[in-house]
Symmetry: C2
Subunit: 135 residues, 2 copies
């Protein structure tokens, strides 16, 4: 892993292994990643507190690691987890930390010339994906 | 948005709006985010090149933004996209940048006392989630 790009840290995207929701993004240093791998529970490095924290250590809402995927640049990990405890990952009490919507340009505001989805025949998948989305 | 924690940058998690796969993680500064919102196509700030880049500008594999979600700390965005062009997001030619697996502790290595998933009755969802996973 390459920890040099962010002063010793890498982003860790936490994704629910069942629903595929993105639940939160934390940061890990080498020690946090080692501890995550060794224990099987997600441990982060808190940038604000300057120390390691194992998610759910106090609340019981730990994140059991099912799989860790590394990206092509070796500078980000995708951690697929099972939510334990009451299953609420966000400190606000919500299941996911991503709950606010930022408005984007409407379709009419975009150039549409070559704007076709990559694969055809995806409608069935789309419907199923919607069911499982972060919405 | 809070751009102060990473010297003017925030992580941007790119998730396929159809399959819910996490495709890549990039970084945005305020300008990249503004441009993403205004154009409806994902634009990042390249840390290595020190400049903005609109994903797919050359290859045609642009990422059409369907929705942007902001996290509880206002320091990360989750960008749900439709893949355009040939749909391959990674520069290696793969659909996703997350293709390498990092081994984690086996279940037997974990304490199992309170280690129960957050919600019961999730087996059906799990099966469907597996189909759509980043595997």
């Amino acid at each position: 892993m390459d920890f040099t790009k962010l002063d010793g840290l890498i982003p860790a995207v936490i994704q629910d292994d069942v629903s595929n929701e993105v639940l939160m993004v934390g940061f890990m240093n080498q020690t946090a990643l080692d501890q995550t791998v060794a224990t099987g529970y997600a441990t982060f490095f808190s940038r604000t507190r300057g120390q390691l924290w194992t998610k759910g250590e106090t609340s019981g809402n730990r994140l059991r690691v099912e799989r860790i995927l590394v990206d092509c640049d070796d500078d980000t990990v995708l951690v697929r987890v099972t939510r334990l405890g009451d299953g609420n990952v966000c400190h606000t009490g919500d299941r996911s930390c991503f709950n606010k919507v930022l408005p984007v340009a409407s379709d009419s505001g975009r150039k549409s010339g070559e704007d076709r989805p990559a694969s055809a025949g995806s409608h069935k998948v789309r419907e199923r994906g919607r069911d499982l989305g972060a919405e």
